[in-house]
Structure formats: structure tokens, C-alpha cells
């Protein structure tokens, strides 16, 4: 009897030892992207800059973010020069006015464009003619250092900018180019790879938002490459609303105070959750946008991954706000 009870007990213990991973049961389909959901893809390595027009809800232009280095303002009386912050470019001001005198042993102190896009917080603020600047051309999409070079601006007028450069710090070979202003555009873009102006932004009246990586600078001055959305700096206005998506109406959109910062949408509508090992969207972030045409839109993000699970593909809900 005792033996028998023991045997039964042993068999029971052995029987419950065969735990294994069970198949899951399919979960019923829930929710669906609404008709005004749009998905765009920069590529999982964020290789591309996408210029998006709200009125047509399409990408009007896109380019690889490595193709340009500097942007020169086309506004007639402006001296604004921007670094290609999508590839982590930095600038160092030297005490020299002679390009040849600058070499790799010249001391450097790197400064970055402020992500808000304000001219008065840009690296090139109050740049001087003839002054030699050292450019760090940043990091390639594959993560490699592109290189450092020296550069100066020799003339500026209503028609454009004349620049001189040497393609590396110790180079004695000086090259010169003229960059004309074109009033249809915000900036004229120049590449030190092809040594010529390149087409990047579409005409300034034709786009509202740019999906791109860019350099964010923390309060303590630490720069960090992030991925998000910048707005058309001269024409599009954005505000992050405290109202919910559904509560935003035309009256609100008309009366709310917009800022000129280009990184209001920025990168922080998503964050990387280390526990879940994935990007997570902050749905409560809702943006109200006044487009280049003066129309109002509201926007919120739904996802950062495409159908195949590749990141760098934001999908968002976009709705025009009508009276």
C-alpha cells in the first residue's frame, strides 16, 4: 500500500515535469489605420531626408542626407549659413585668415547649430569675411568620420557668396566657388564632395516638413544625433498642443501662438524603451501646424516601424482643421 502510494506520487511528479512552451492563440484584429494615416520611410539607417507637403500629403522631394555640407541663406539681406546637422557636422573658429596657415595641429573647439534653427544660435553666428573656419564634415551613414577641412568666405552680396576651401586640413590646394542666391528657395546647398551646389530642399513654397536626422544639443552642450521632423523655417509654423487630438478646432488653431523654432515636432514623440527593446510612440503629443499656404493641420504619430518591422518609417495621422 505504502509502495503503491509512493509510486503514484512519483508518477504524478514526473508527469507535471513536462512543461514546455505552448503555442499562442491568435489575437483578434483590433483597430485600423484611419484613411488619413500616412507612412513615410527614411530608411532604417535614416539615410534620407524627406520633404513633405501637407496640402498634397505627399513627399515632394527626397535626398540622401550625405549629399550636402553647407546651406547658404537665399534671403536677400541674410548672412545665415547652416551646417548639415543631419550628419553631425561641427564648426571650429580659428584665429587665422590664411587658409594655408591652418593645419591639423590648429587647436579646435567644436560648436554646433542649435536644433531650433535660430540664426542667433547658429554655429556660424557673426561669421567674418576672410576668417578661416574648420569644418568637421560629420559622420557618414555607415558611421565613419567623413573628415575635417578648412574653409572661409571671401565675399558676400545680394547675388551670393564666394567661398574658398581646402579639402583637408593639411592641404595646400585652395579651391574657390560662387554660390548664387535663388529667391525661390530658403537655402542654396553646397557639397564639398562634388565641389558644387546641389539641389536639396524643394522651392520654399512647396514643402512644410522635413523628416530627417539632425543634431540635438542638450542643455549641457552635449550634441547627439536624433531622428525626427523639422519644419520649413521661414514659412511653416508649428505648436505642440496641450489639447487632445479631437478637441483641437479651427478657433484654437487660429488663435494659438506659434513659435518660429523648426524643431517643435522634433524627435521626442518617440523614445527607446530599453525594457521592451523597441521605440515607443508618445501618443499624447499632438502638433498643430500652419502650412506654407496658411492652412491649419493637426498631426500625431502612430508608429516608427514599417510593415516589415524596419525603423525610420514614421506613420502619422494628419487632418486638416477646417472651420
Amino acid at each position: 500500500m505504502k509502495q503503491c502510494a509512493l509510486t503514484v506520487f512519483l508518477l504524478v511528479v514526473l508527469a507535471i515535469n513536462f512543461g514546455c512552451e505552448k503555442d499562442e492563440l491568435p489575437k483578434p484584429f483590433t483597430g485600423e489605420a484611419s484613411a488619413n494615416t500616412i507612412q513615410v520611410s527614411m530608411g532604417s539607417d535614416y539615410a534620407n531626408q524627406l520633404f513633405f507637403e501637407l496640402s498634397s500629403a505627399t513627399i515632394v522631394s527626397q535626398n540622401n542626407r550625405e549629399i550636402w555640407d553647407l546651406g547658404f541663406s537665399c534671403v536677400a539681406d541674410s548672412r545665415h549659413i547652416v551646417l548639415n546637422s543631419s550628419k553631425y557636422m561641427a564648426l571650429s573658429i580659428t584665429t587665422e585668415i590664411d587658409l594655408i596657415a591652418v593645419s591639423s595641429s590648429t587647436p579646435v573647439e567644436w560648436i554646433y547649430d542649435d536644433p531650433s534653427g535660430s540664426e542667433d544660435s547658429s554655429a556660424f553666428l557673426n561669421w567674418e569675411l576672410e576668417r578661416v573656419y574648420i569644418l568637421d564634415r560629420g559622420v557618414s551613414i555607415l558611421g565613419q568620420q567623413i573628415g575635417k577641412m578648412k574653409f572661409r568666405i571671401t565675399t558676400i552680396d545680394e547675388s551670393g557668396y564666394t567661398i574658398q576651401w581646402a579639402s583637408s586640413l593639411n592641404s595646400q590646394t585652395i579651391e574657390t566657388a560662387f554660390i548664387p542666391r535663388n529667391d525661390d528657395y530658403n537655402f542654396a546647398f553646397f557639397s564639398f564632395t562634388s565641389n558644387q551646389t546641389v539641389s536639396v530642399e524643394p522651392p520654399k513654397q512647396e514643402w512644410d516638413l522635413c523628416f530627417s536626422s539632425y543634431t540635438y544639443v542638450y542643455d549641457d552642450g552635449t550634441p547627439y544625433l536624433v531622428t525626427g521632423v523639422l519644419s520649413n523655417r521661414n514659412l511653416t509654423r508649428v505648436i505642440e498642443s496641450e489639447l487632445s487630438f479631437d478637441d483641437i478646432d479651427f478657433t484654437y488653431a487660429e488663435t494659438v501662438v506659434y513659435t518660429t523654432d523648426i524643431d517643435i515636432i522634433g524627435y521626442d514623440w518617440k523614445f527607446y524603451d530599453f525594457d521592451l527593446a523597441t521605440y515607443v510612440i508618445q501618443y499624447d503629443k499632438v502638433y498643430v501646424i500652419k502650412s506654407v499656404e496658411g492652412l491649419y493641420y493637426k498631426l500625431r504619430f502612430l508608429d516608427f516601424y514599417d510593415q516589415s518591422g524596419n525603423k525610420g518609417a514614421p506613420s502619422f495621422e494628419l487632418q486638416e482643421i477646417v472651420p
Binding site: L6, E24, P28, Q145, L276, T278, I281, G309
Partner: protein, 749 residues
């Protein structure tokens, strides 16, 4: 009769195998079935002693054939120091195994790690800690994590993907050497060996040496060495062991082992399957795995894990030599089920982490004569870790591999090692020594390694001597290392022992080193978010370790009390840390940190008959040039007991550990002090075990983590205007109970 009580007698087969013409007598302890080396033995009858000898390191001695005229056919009284005399009928030209009862409750343990010969921890020049099979069983320990969790001066850390790491004497696990039978375990992920991947089912004993053993074991053995001694030879016949372990949290473990004799050789075959069904705070106390809807309930903080392991070990005696070829294969799959992705919860990212290990080699044990012996090993270890990420459609349960760079990764390590030492050992000799070589050739492949593949070769010569001068023992050691990455290094050590009748004093000065790992030299991890590059000009980490031990052993009638007090100080120079290079863009490894640890620990071990009580306390402080405000101290308390209730043959065991709060001060970039801490917690385990059917079945019921610790709060606070951030780190999966069954069936030949 006596024979049938012996189950685990390591090293016996060797003696039976090559000694058929001689009468070899082996003494084993009745308590733990371990051989009794180095004791004085007398054989005689009630009136006179006819023979006396000392046992060797295997607990054996040879009884001269010519004396059989006196002993044959009648019982002789066998006496050994500290053991009760017993009457035994010696059989001529056969192996005689005699099980002796200790005359008083002993607290003796034997170690081999870093020793010239198996030696009791009382007599070893260096102090060592031994965790034997009984303690592992009483703890319900499945893997190395379970057993080290309640050990003094060792702290366990858990990462749900990388696995379980540890720290010892305040230093992290990359400075702890883990060995199986003296062969280094490879496959360090982020510097740490995943302790939960080291299963104990085939382990007989764990030896822990605190402080550097770099003279004997080379790189990584700075903070300490953990050597797992696998089950070895047993007595002739066939043995079948089956263990079943079920824990309420969702652990289902089964392992088996068959030992059999083929002519003079012995073959061991073993295998195991362990399955853990994952755990999250909201889990019920017990639930058998079942099909569930793929909703948010699929996410678990502790990931489900499946383990297989199998191996063969063959012990082949050839004349006086013993060859032990072995192969061991391990497979682990961790399934990290992703949280359904908002806003529609129809898809999730699932990761699979697969680890494969294959260890193979030959152990060689070759006594040349009664003074010299060769110990050697040639081993090949293989480690592979695969990460796959899938996007899973939760509506259809289809999944596809994602294409993002870095989502799929395979890293492989190969290591070829060989060590051979010539040992001169005689128990009563004033001068014993060993000299040997140690060669390690390791290579790594993976997409994050420069050129896809890199190798490091390390060749070392080492020597240890033991000089005995009355009450003094002196053990100097020296290792010369040539490493293909940084050329050469000398590593000396000196240990000292002064033994009185009741008091033993020990002191040690040892240097240690850690060679830069392949990853630190050659990593090339550059993508959109990372830029980590290896540094080929890294130097090895160098340490100096000073320690003193005071031990006293008191025999109080039938009771024994052992008290140990230990103090140590360790400094590590040019410790390798990940830091930004002066250019500011690239992260790389540099010899930047200067680390110091200081600590005291004390243990009291009290045995009354078969009952045991142990208390321990430690106070460890660490600091480095990257921290401020001096040493950061943290206390620890351990207590354990094992009580034997004779009438129903039940052994009750309890293990308790208090892990103190750890507070670290850093300096922020602006120079403000920043503190970070991990709160304290208490762990309490309990078990009761009872043998049935003349010990063929042992049933253990136990409870783990009785105080229900799940997460422990951690926080960092920069003390200034900014607020601190509070998080928690997983420590345990809460209270659970387990049932363990051990079958042990022995057939005599």
C-alpha cells in the same frame, strides 16, 4: 554491507584498475563519501599493530602482500587519525574500500583548485571555500546562480537578456575566473559569464578561492576563482540517477546520468532538459503552461528559457595513467516575447537568443612514481550566441525576420587550451613544487569584430613551491605570460601559513591580471547610434591583493566550532573602461580606472553531530578614481543551518542572506557629486529532504525566496537642483515552492 552504502567515491576506479596484483585499501569518509587523503593509518588486532602507513591524495595505501599471512581471513582493526576504528576483512589482491565514521563531527573539506595535490582546507596554504553536493541539494540549486546567490562576499546581478552576472570582493564578474575541472569557461557577454547557463546536475563540488589565482590560472582570476568539479569515478557497477525538479514559478527540470563500467574503464553519460516558462509580477502562484491569447499578457520580465545539455565522459586507466576524454554540449534558447505594439496591438517584435556551447577535451592524470606526477588537460571550447529579431503578426501568428542592421547577429568564440604541470608532492616533505605551462588560443568571429575574425594567443609558464618549516608553510609562485596582444608580463604571488594546534594564521600577497578581451581590442560597432571601436594598444589590468586570515578550530566534545576572520585589500591599476576618445565622437576602451576594494569578513561554523549552523558577515568597500567621497561600503550577513532529525531521517535546511544597500558617489560632468544606490534586500530559502527505499529515492520539498523579493529599488541622484530618477532592478521572481525527486539506482556487477 558497507559497500552498498557507498555511492559516490571519486577516484576509485583508477585504483581498482591498475592494481589487480596489489591489495589496495582506500579509506572514504562515511559522511560525504570523499576519500580521506593524508591520514595516518594503523592496521592490527586488539593486541598489536601489524602495519602502519599514510594514505595518498586519493585516500589509498597498499597493504603488503607478505603481511597477509597475519591478516588473511580474519578481521583487522583499521584505525585512522580523527576516525573511529573499525573491524574489516581485507581481501587479498583486490580493491578494498573502507568507509570510516569520523570520531568527532568534522568540518573538513578538500580542495584541488590551485593546489599541488588534493588537500584539506585546514591544511592548504591558501584559504578556500567549498560548496559540496549536499549544500547544492539543500539549496535546491539548479545552476550556478542559485548556489552563489546566498554565498557571502558574492553578489549576483540579473540582466534579462545578457543573463546572470556576479561580483566578488566588490569586483565585477569579468575579474572572476570560472573553471570546470580546471578548464576556463568561455563566452563572456559584456565581460560576464552567464551563471544561469552553468548547470550543476553533473557537478560534485564547487571550490571558491577569493583573491587572485593568476599564477595558476592566468587572466581574469583577479577577484577570485570558481572551479566546478564534476562527478568523477564511482565504485564498480552500474549507476542510474534521475533527478526531477518542479518549481511553482514555472521551472520544469529533468536530468539523468548513467555510469557503467566497460572492462577497466568507466563511462558516464548524462543529459538534462530544463524549461522555465517565464515570469511577470502578475503571474499566478502556480500555473501549468497553456495556450494563451497573444495580447499584452505575452510580455514577461523574466524571459522563458529552454535548456538542453548532454555529455559523455570516459575514464580510461592505462597502467598508472588515467585519461579522461569528455565532450559536453549545451543549448539554450531564450524567447523574448515583445509587448504588442501600440496603437493597434496587432504586431510585436520577438527576439530569440540562442546559445550553444560545446566543450571537449582530455584530462590526463599520470603519477610517475611516489613523488612525481603529471597533471594535464587539452581542451577545445566552442561558444556561439545568435540573436534573431522577428516582427510577429499577432493576428495570424506569422513572423518574419526584420531587416534592420544589428537585429540579427551571430558571435562565436573558439578556445583551444592546454595545461600540463609536473608536480612533486610528498606529504611529509619540506619542499614540494609544481612547474607547468598554460597555453590559451582564443578566437572570436562576428560582424562587430574588426575584419570579422580576431585571435589572441597567450602562452604562460608557471611554478609554485610549498616549503614546510615546522609550523610555517610558505608558498611562493610565479607566472610568466606572453600574450600576442601586449607582449609579456610577470605575475608573482606569495602565501604564508603559520599553524598552531588550535589557531591558524595565513597571509597572502598576490598579483593578478586580466588580459584585454578580444572585444575590447577589436570591437568595431559603428552604426547610426553607436560608434564603439576597439583599442589595440590596451594594456592588461594589473592588481595587487593583500589578505590575512585568522582561523581557529575547537573540538568541544562531540561538537566542532570553526571561526574564520579575514581582511583584504585589493587595488587594480589600469582597469579597462569604455570612454569617449579625446576626439569626442568615438567610444573606445582605455586603461583609465584605478580601482580599490577593502573588506573584512568572518564566518563561524558550528557542528553538533550531524547538525550544522553557519553564520557569516562581510563588510566590503570599493572606490575608484571615477568615484568621489572615498570608499563606498556595503554590509552582508549570511546564516545557514542544516538540522538532521534522526527518527524520520529528515534533513531540514535553511539559507538566509542579507545584502546591504550599495551607495556609490560619482562626479558629474560639472563636478557635482552624484549618488546612485541599490537598496538592500533579504533572501530566505528553506528545504526538507527525506530518503526512501534505502536511499534509492530522496524527496526534497523546499521554498525559495520566502520573503517574496521581486524588484529592488535603485536610484541615482545628483544631489543638486535636478531631481533623482528612481527605477528598480529585478532580483527575484517572488516566493516559490519546489519539489525535487532524486532516484539513485545501483547495480553491482
Amino acid at each position: 554491507m558497507i559497500l552498498s552504502r557507498l555511492f559516490i567515491v571519486p577516484l576509485l576506479l583508477l585504483i581498482t584498475a591498475f592494481s589487480t596484483a596489489q591489495t589496495v585499501v582506500t579509506l572514504v569518509s562515511d559522511e560525504n563519501k570523499n576519500p580521506i587523503p593524508w591520514v595516518q593509518v594503523t592496521i592490527g588486532d586488539s593486541s598489536a599493530i601489524i602495519f602502519s602507513a599514510g594514505t595518498d591524495n586519493r585516500g589509498s595505501f597498499t597493504f603488503p602482500t607478505e603481511l597477509f599471512g597475519l591478516a588473511n581471513g580474519r578481521g583487522v582493526i583499521i584505525g585512522a587519525t580523527d576516525f573511529q576504528p573499525m573491524t574489516y576483512y581485507l581481501r587479498k589482491s583486490e580493491a578494498n574500500i573502507i568507509s570510516l565514521k569520523p570520531s568527532v563531527a568534522t568540518l573538513e573539506e578538500f580542495i584541488v583548485t590551485g593546489q599541488l595535490s588534493a588537500i584539506s582546507t585546514d591544511h592548504s596554504v591558501q584559504k578556500a571555500r567549498v560548496i559540496d553536493r549536499a549544500v547544492m541539494d539543500a539549496k535546491g540549486a539548479v545552476n550556478l546562480r542559485d548556489v552563489l546567490q546566498s554565498e557571502l562576499n558574492i553578489r549576483i546581478s540579473q540582466d534579462q537578456v545578457l543573463g546572470t552576472g556576479m561580483s566578488m570582493q566588490g569586483m565585477n564578474g569579468q575579474n572572476v575566473k570560472i573553471l570546470i575541472d580546471g578548464v576556463p569557461v568561455i563566452g563572456r557577454v559584456d565581460g560576464e559569464i552567464d551563471l544561469s547557463q552553468i548547470n550543476l546536475s553533473n557537478v560534485e563540488r564547487i571550490e571558491i578561492i577569493e583573491g587572485p589565482s593568476s599564477v595558476s590560472f592566468g587572466s581574469n582570476a583577479l577577484a577570485g576563482t570558481v572551479n566546478l568539479i564534476t562527478k568523477k569515478r564511482e565504485k564498480p557497477g552500474q549507476d542510474l540517477q534521475i533527478n526531477s525538479y518542479v518549481e511553482s514559478v514555472g521551472n520544469y527540470n529533468l536530468d539523468g546520468r548513467l555510469t557503467t563500467n566497460i572492462r577497466k574503464t568507466q563511462l558516464q553519460v548524462y543529459g538534462l532538459r530544463n524549461y522555465f516558462d517565464g515570469w511577470i509580477d502578475t503571474d499566478p502562484f502556480y500555473e501549468f503552461p497553456k495556450e494563451k491569447i497573444a495580447d499584452s499578457g505575452r510580455y514577461q520580465t523574466w524571459k522563458p528559457k529552454l535548456n538542453y545539455q548532454a555529455g559523455v565522459k570516459w575514464t580510461i586507466p592505462v597502467k598508472r595513467l588515467t585519461f579522461t576524454p569528455y565532450v559536453d554540449a549545451f543549448y539554450e534558447q531564450i524567447h523574448r516575447k515583445g509587448y504588442p505594439r501600440a496603437p493597434y496591438f496587432n504586431t510585436a517584435f520577438d527576439d530569440y537568443y540562442i546559445t550553444k556551447r560545446i566543450n571537449e577535451g582530455i584530462l590526463i592524470d599520470a603519477p610517475l612514481n611516489d613523488r612525481f606526477k603529471l597533471n594535464g588537460v587539452v581542451a577545445h571550447n566552442y561558444y556561439e550566441r545568435i540573436k534573431n529579431t522577428y516582427l510577429k503578426n499577432l493576428n495570424t501568428l506569422d513572423q518574419q525576420l526584420t531587416t534592420a542592421p544589428g537585429d540579427q547577429d551571430t558571435t562565436k568564440f573558439y578556445a583551444l587550451m592546454s595545461r600540463l604541470s609536473l608536480v612533486k608532492y610528498q606529504r611529509d616533505s619540506a619542499f614540494n613544487f609544481e612547474i607547468g605551462y598554460d597555453v590559451n588560443h582564443e578566437s572570436a568571429t562576428g560582424r562587430r569584430i574588426v575584419s570579422g575574425k580576431q585571435t589572441i594567443t597567450e602562452i604562460a609558464l608557471f611554478g609554485n613551491a610549498e616549503i614546510q618549516l615546522r609550523k610555517w608553510s610558505l608558498k611562493p609562485g610565479l607566472r610568466y605570460t606572453y600574450n600576442s596582444a601586449y607582449r609579456s608580463a610577470f605575475t608573482p604571488a606569495l602565501n604564508l601559513k603559520y599553524a598552531l594546534k588550535k589557531w591558524t594564521f595565513r597571509a597572502g600577497v598576490a598579483s593578478g591580471f586580466r588580459s584585454p578581451a578580444i572585444k575590447e581590442l577589436y570591437i568595431d560597432f559603428v552604426d547610426i547610434n553607436h560608434n564603439i571601436q576597439g583599442n589595440v594598444s590596451l594594456k592588461p589590468e594589473q592588481s595587487m591583493h593583500y589578505q590575512v586570515w585568522v582561523s581557529t578550530k575547537r573540538n568541544l566534545g562531540k561538537h566542532t566550532l570553526v571561526v574564520d576572520l579575514n581582511g583584504y585589500y585589493q587595488q587594480v591599476k589600469q582597469k579597462i573602461t569604455l570612454a569617449q576618445d579625446p576626439g569626442g565622437v568615438i567610444y573606445s576602451y582605455f586603461n583609465l580606472e584605478h580601482f580599490e576594494a577593502i573588506g573584512v569578513q568572518s564566518t563561524a561554523d558550528f557542528a553538533i553531530g550531524k547538525h550544522r549552523f553557519k553564520l557569516g558577515a562581510a563588510y566590503v568597500g570599493t572606490k575608484s578614481n571615477l568615484t568621489v567621497n572615498g570608499y563606498s561600503f556595503s554590509p552582508e550577513i549570511t546564516a545557514s543551518t542544516s538540522v538532521f532529525w534522526k527518527k524520520p531521517q529528515i534533513t531540514f535546511s535553511a539559507f538566509y542572506k542579507y545584502t546591504g544597500r550599495v551607495l556609490t558617489y560619482f562626479s558629474s560632468e560639472e563636478g557635482d557629486p552624484v549618488t546612485s544606490f541599490m537598496n538592500d534586500y533579504n533572501m530566505l530559502d528553506f528545504s526538507a529532504s527525506k530518503p526512501f527505499w534505502s536511499k534509492r529515492i530522496v524527496l526534497t520539498l523546499g521554498a525559495k525566496n520566502l520573503l517574496n523579493v521581486r524588484q529592488v529599488g535603485t536610484s541615482s541622484n545628483d544631489g543638486g537642483a535636478h531631481s533623482g530618477s528612481a527605477t528598480s532592478t529585478p532580483v527575484g521572481w517572488g516566493r516559490s515552492v519546489y519539489i525535487k525527486l532524486q532516484f539513485n539506482i545501483h547495480y553491482k556487477k
